[in-house]
């Protein structure tokens, strides 16, 4: 297939997954933030400012220390969900997904295009009206969660399991892994149980650092899965291990890396000589090794950072090998172009 098409599909998958995770995170975090911390265990602090930090500086989320400090809660929520001028907003992700889908309309089914298009149109239309109201951002998040599930469902049932589907999937998996790692890096308290003491008597500071991680689980959407899979209370350490290593949970980093490997191995003409396949394969093995070798209570932030870095290199390998070197640049320009194009169409 054309390198350009593969590239668009891969980024369609990434943008869909990013929109969904932004929606989930906003819903979970902003609602938890309305209340104070639980009195029994203050827990992990994963608030909306952390959410902004999660998206890095380029998104314009934290442009300048002063500006960020002045940001109000409502503005932050709006910025993350329905602000069309911000490249990292949920709406912008959906807009980019629509642009991508429009480019590959001949590859994806009509039904899928329609689902993506309808989602974008309805977000655009209602963003101006009903979803500006207080509480509207939550409804918009809810809507995006449901619609992305629908879109992925259609892809699953209607698309051939060919190269095109593999690239779409791969984009989704790498984005989910990246988003989960970002959340962990922001939310995990630095130096939580760093000495790996295991069942040592908890000193107050450590107990606080390992407090409950409800907000984190809610933000990922894995609360129920966690409760079924893990008997330990939802504290920072077991939750982080779950989100990193639990292969049975589809949105865990390990499961995403596995699926990513599968997708590239199937799409690649000669997977045994393919740099991205080999790199992902090594990463999967490393995650499995860490899961088994790490003692309880070991520090996990370093692993998160390394895995995220490795995934960024996978992204580069993918661009080089499959997309004829088109790099995934940090490009605000692309969004402005999208916005401009939309205006042009409207004119």
């Amino acid at each position: 297939m054309l390198a350009r098409i593969a590239h668009e599909l891969y980024w369609l998958g990434r943008n869909l997954a990013r929109a969904e995770f932004t929606a989930r995170a906003c819903d979970g975090v902003f609602r938890a933030e309305l209340q104070s911390a639980a009195e029994t265990s203050p827990g992990v602090r994963f608030g909306w400012n952390g959410l902004l930090a999660m998206l890095g500086a380029s998104g314009g989320a934290l442009d300048g220390g002063e500006g960020a400090a002045m940001l109000r809660r409502e503005q932050a929520l709006e910025r993350l969900t329905l602000d069309a001028d911000r490249p990292d907003s949920m709406l912008a992700c959906v807009e980019r997904a629509r642009e991508g889908a429009r480019t590959v309309r001949d590859v994806i089914s009509a039904e899928m295009w329609e689902a993506i298009n309808a989602t974008t149109l309805s977000l655009r239309r209602d963003a101006a009206a009903s979803w500006r109201l207080p509480g509207g951002a939550y409804q918009a998040s809810q809507y995006v969660k449901q619609r992305t599930a629908l879109i992925w469902g259609i892809a699953e049932r209607a698309m051939l399991r060919d190269e095109a589907k593999r690239f779409l999937d791969a984009g989704g998996f790498i984005e989910v892994a990246d988003m989960v790692l970002r959340m962990l890096r922001v939310a995990l308290p630095a130096g939580a149980a760093s000495d790996g003491g295991g069942a040592a008597a908890p000193d107050p500071a450590e107990a606080r650092a390992d407090g409950n991680a409800f907000a984190l689980l809610q933000a990922v959407g894995g609360f129920h899965a966690y409760l079924r899979a893990v008997t330990a209370p939802p504290n920072a350490q077991p939750v982080a291990r779950f989100l990193l290593f639990q292969r049975a949970y589809p949105d865990s980093v390990a499961a995403c890396v596995d699926s990513l490997h599968e997708a590239f191995a199937a799409a690649d003409a000669s997977p045994h000589e393919s740099k991205p396949v080999l790199r992902v394969s090594r990463l999967a093995a490393d995650l499995e090794f860490q899961r088994r070798a790490l003692p309880d209570g070991a520090e996990l932030l370093g692993i998160c950072e390394r895995v995220q870095h490795e995934l960024a290199r996978v992204d580069q390998d993918v661009a080089e090998r499959y997309f004829a070197g088109a790099t995934g640049d940090v490009a605000r320009s692309s969004l402005h172009a999208t916005g401009g194009e939309r205006n042009a169409v409207a004119a």
Partner: protein, 521 residues
């Protein structure tokens, strides 16, 4: 806005008698005014749609009584606000009361010291319908009987709190507390601005921890289950909710079996031992060998396993004797007797009717009092004097004379009011009570607030949801949050780490796109 006359009779929790908002409620009242009646009505419509969609409903009989209707659970969008100081008083009072009730259950089935001291008459205890001879002499792990308790509180015209009823069998409603809060944060997040409201959603974890702490399992992680009578039970929503939130199995009687005094559940991998059961059905039905022999919902041999100490049951069998309405009268005495403390929460003035003199006095002014059957719960059979017809009063008087031990009389409590939105979003004061939920494991934890039930009819004091009552989200504020003007929640104290930038896919350059567009033109 509430009328001035109502303030002379009832305590309004949001407004002072003059009509000015109370200190803790000022920010809330301002937001409510900004929202307006139309805004509230609109949020109400969204709430009903969301509740129907999520299946948070209850069934009521249709007007003609022929079939049952599924209605969205009636949540009023105006929250009730309790200050941190008020709550810590309530919390201490409740913990004290629950500790005393737990002592009483232990005493009744063991030494009976309170009877020998002639504080509570034995004939009264033994005649209670929930007194369980089958569990005499059994002491559960940790000596905890009332793992889950919910005492109903009301607020008098002077603003003081009273306990009106204890529930130490299977109090329900906690799922609505949690779902109400979730719905409020979704529907009207702006009301929370300027407050730090204590969360409630950790209750399932508290319960799970308490159940694990009393489970008799030496080596492995204890297996905990929630036991429901079945999906037709009116509280099934709550049973499923708790099982899901705790991540444990929801079992019915047919899933459980006792072998050699050990309780097991049937799984695809054979029998698996169960260490702790959170049961949501009455003593009468749990074991046909010891309680009602015709029970089809029970597990034969369960009491034997319980007696052998191989399984923890929450709440323990026989706790019903402590929340009987005739025993309620003695709870303040229990606090003094077992704990050597003065009760922090008072009872509503109650009359026991076995004494002929008291009985006749009560019957002479039955029109002013509230008369309740002792063994019932959920507002069943309650007769409120001022609201009852002549005929109803006569029937109740006859029933009391026929069986005086089965009834009590209480002074009428003028329940406090909270402004409540009608279908059109207009606020009017409605009467409320409060049911906080406590979990007793290694210690007593009480979820901040609890279920506020509200009578939706004007002037009505019947708050039961089966009889037209609704509910409210109950906010307990952090200490110091009841100050009138306070800035919004502070921005994070810690600086989050700098993360790598997000990446965006770019295939064609900007220029290329512009050229393409020019082509179109």
């Amino acid at each position: 806005m509430p009328e001035a006359t109502a303030h002379d009779l009832f305590y309004d929790e949001l407004f002072e008698p003059g009509g000015a908002p109370r200190r803790a409620a000022a920010a809330l009242v301002a937001e409510l005014e900004r929202l307006g009646a139309d805004g509230l009505a609109e949020a109400g419509r969204r709430r009903d749609a969301a509740f129907l969609q999520q299946g948070i409903t209850f069934e009521t009989a249709a007007a003609d009584g022929s079939r049952s209707l599924e209605r969205p659970f009636p949540l009023d969008l105006v929250p009730r606000v309790l200050s941190g100081a008020e709550w810590s008083h309530l919390k201490r009072g409740l913990a004290q009361r629950i500790r005393a009730l737990n002592h009483f259950v232990d005493d009744v089935y063991h030494g009976r010291e309170i009877v020998r001291e002639e504080i509570v008459p034995w004939t009264l205890v033994a005649s209670r319908s929930h007194f369980a001879r089958a569990v005499h002499g059994i002491r559960p792990p940790g000596g905890v009987y009332c793992h889950v308790a919910g005492c109903d509180l009301v607020r008098h015209a002077d603003g003081s709190w009273r306990v009106i009823e204890d529930n130490v069998r299977t109090p329900s409603g906690i799922s609505y507390v949690i779902e109400n809060r979730a719905a409020m944060t979704q529907l009207v997040p702006q009301l929370f601005a300027g407050y730090r409201v204590r969360p409630v959603d950790h209750y399932p974890q508290l319960l799970l921890r308490a159940l694990r702490s009393v489970a008799p399992s030496a080596d492995s992680e204890a297996t905990v289950v929630v036991w429901t009578p079945g999906s037709l039970n009116s509280a099934y929503f709550e049973h499923a909710f708790l099982a899901r939130q705790m991540g444990v199995e929801l079992v019915e009687a047919s899933d459980l079996v006792v072998r050699d005094d050990v309780l097991y559940m049937r799984t695809t991998r054979g029998l698996v031992r169960v260490h702790a059961v959170y049961r949501r059905l009455d003593d009468d039905f749990v074991d046909p060998l010891e309680f009602r022999p015709d029970s089809l919902l029970g597990v034969p041999g369960l009491v034997r396993a319980y007696r052998a100490g191989s399984v923890a049951i929450a709440n323990a069998f026989g706790t019903g004797v402590a929340d009987d309405k005739a025993i309620y009268h003695y709870v303040p005495e229990m606090v003094r007797f077992y704990l050597g403390e003065e009760p922090l929460l008072e009872n509503v003035t109650t009359y026991l009717l076995h004494d002929a003199e008291v009985r006749e006095q009560v019957l002479s002014r039955i029109g002013e009092l509230v008369v309740k059957p002792t063994g019932e719960s959920g507002g069943k059979g309650v007769c409120i004097g001022p609201h009852a017809s002549e005929q109803e009063l006569e029937e109740v008087a006859a029933a009391v004379r026929a069986q005086p031990e089965a009834w009590i009389a209480q002074e009428l409590v003028r329940l406090s009011t909270v402004p409540t939105a009608g279908p059109d979003g207009v606020l009017a004061p409605r009467h409320v009570d409060l049911r906080p939920f406590a979990v007793f494991g290694e210690r007593i934890d009480i979820v901040p607030g609890g279920l506020t039930r509200v009578a939706l009819e004007e002037g009505s004091m019947i708050v039961n949801s089966s009889r037209g009552g609704g509910s409210k989200d109950t906010w307990v504020l952090e200490d110091g949050d009841d100050v009138a003007d306070r800035a919004g929640p502070p921005i994070a104290d810690t600086t989050p780490p700098a993360l790598p930038d997000l990446r965006y896919g770019t295939w064609s350059s900007q220029q290329q796109q512009q050229q393409q567009q020019e082509e179109v033109r």
